[in-house]
């Protein structure tokens, strides 16, 4: 096989993300669901800084289990050692709430061990994220787009490891969220 350092791998997904609170991140339903691109699952945890991890906090609302990576959030399994080097998105925001400030799309390493019990608490690491443009006041429905590139070992992921995509809203209060959005997110990986 001729894969080598610098080769690029891309993957993308269309999605619907309906933010209902700023205190949680959302991810997709399971594939057999009638709307598998709807990010209807969530946990009351926040996307951590790039290179940092988020873990199940022991509460019902803050539950994060290992099966939720491959079953829900996963979008690609690294076929070789690689690094997240780019993210891009394009969305339609229906009608952000007054005070909504932005949304964040995160690429997460959904960590687990082979044959681990599916209901064990999970640890997910942020490989990269991209923030939307900043909103202010009570903005109307609008379209948004963006792209960013990365060059950090924080984005490194080994062959066979799972990457998931999650979304989180931010605002001046918990209810001041970005609401519903339909769009597309693309992830770019570089072979290491």
């Amino acid at each position: 096989m001729a894969h080598k350092y610098g080769n690029i791998i891309v993957c993308n997904t269309r999605f619907y993300f309906g933010a209902s609170s700023n205190a949680r991140f959302h991810f997709a339903y399971m594939p057999e669901y009638s709307k598998p691109l709807l990010w209807g699952y969530y946990t009351d945890l926040s996307i951590p800084a790039i290179g940092s991890t988020v873990v199940d906090d022991g509460t019902t609302a803050g539950q994060l289990l290992v099966h939720e990576g491959p079953e829900y959030a996963g979008i690609i399994v690294a076929p070789v050692d690689c690094r997240v080097v780019g993210m891009a998105y394009s969305v339609w925001l229906y009608n952000p709430e007054d005070g909504a400030e932005k949304f964040r799309l995160g690429a997460m390493h959904c960590q687990f061990s082979d044959e681990q019990t599916r209901t064990d608490d999970a640890t997910w690491k942020t490989l990269a994220y991209i923030d939307s443009s900043t909103l202010s006041g009570d903005e109307a429905g609008q379209v948004q787009k963006g792209s960013t590139t990365f060059s950090s070992t924080n984005g490194d992921i080994a062959a066979g490891e799972l990457i998931g995509i999650v979304g989180q809203s931010f605002g001046s209060s918990d209810s001041a969220n970005v609401g519903g959005m339909n769009g597309v997110v693309t992830l770019m990986l570089e072979v290491q």
Partner: protein, 189 residues
């Protein structure tokens, strides 16, 4: 990061649609639709030549609004500046109408889309390139088809952050129910 000129990126989607009428450009539906691979949205018009635009500003199915770019048409967002270099497809037509001559598969981008534009503004889509299916004559029976085309033109250029999607159009007469898969390939520039 060492991505560079000539880096290849592909995306693929399956689809199902009913190309019931000509002079309609068909495309996808929002991701929260139960049948999100059923491309039953359309706008009245024709796929323009590569490098030209589609911007109907009428009403109803004679208009394209900006929200339809990320929500309906888009399948991919360019992570870096890149160029469309290939389209390939495979399809099953269950029973094309008599007179249907071919189907056109086009890559479209919304390069007119600016951050925070109102979702109800009129949209302008640019044709990056297209491939036509094998020509048919008379009253074609149900059949399968496949094909590919390569491109090397600045008409296929898109900027990082631009959304890109696929659209379909039947010619001659409606192509009827069509199920298939489209792959589009881009080259970093």
């Amino acid at each position: 990061m060492s991505y560079r000129n000539k880096t290849i990126m592909t995306w693929t989607t399956k689809f199902d649609t009913n190309l019931a009428a000509i002079t309609n450009v068909y495309f996808g539906v929002p991701a929260d639709n139960t049948n999100f691979l059923d491309w039953d949205q359309y706008v009245v018009g024709d796929v323009p030549a590569a490098g030209s635009t589609l911007s109907p500003a009428g009403a109803g199915t004679s208009s394209l609004l900006k929200w339809e770019s990320p929500a309906n048409m888009a399948q991919f967002v360019a992570p870096i500046n890149c160029r469309l270099v290939a389209i390939s497809y495979a399809l099953d037509m269950s029973n094309p109408s008599s007179g249907c001559t071919h189907i056109r598969f086009a890559a479209m981008s919304d390069s007119d889309f600016s951050d925070e534009d109102s979702r109800t503004e009129n949209a302008t889509w640019t044709s990056l390139g297209y491939v036509d299916s094998t020509a048919m004559t008379g009253d074609p029976a149900g059949q399968v088809q496949k094909g590919s085309a390569q491109f090397s033109s600045s008409n296929g250029d898109v900027n990082a952050g631009d959304c890109v999607g696929a659209v379909l159009e039947a010619f001659g007469a409606g192509a009827g129910a069509v199920s298939g898969i489209i792959t589009m390939t881009f080259e970093g520039s």
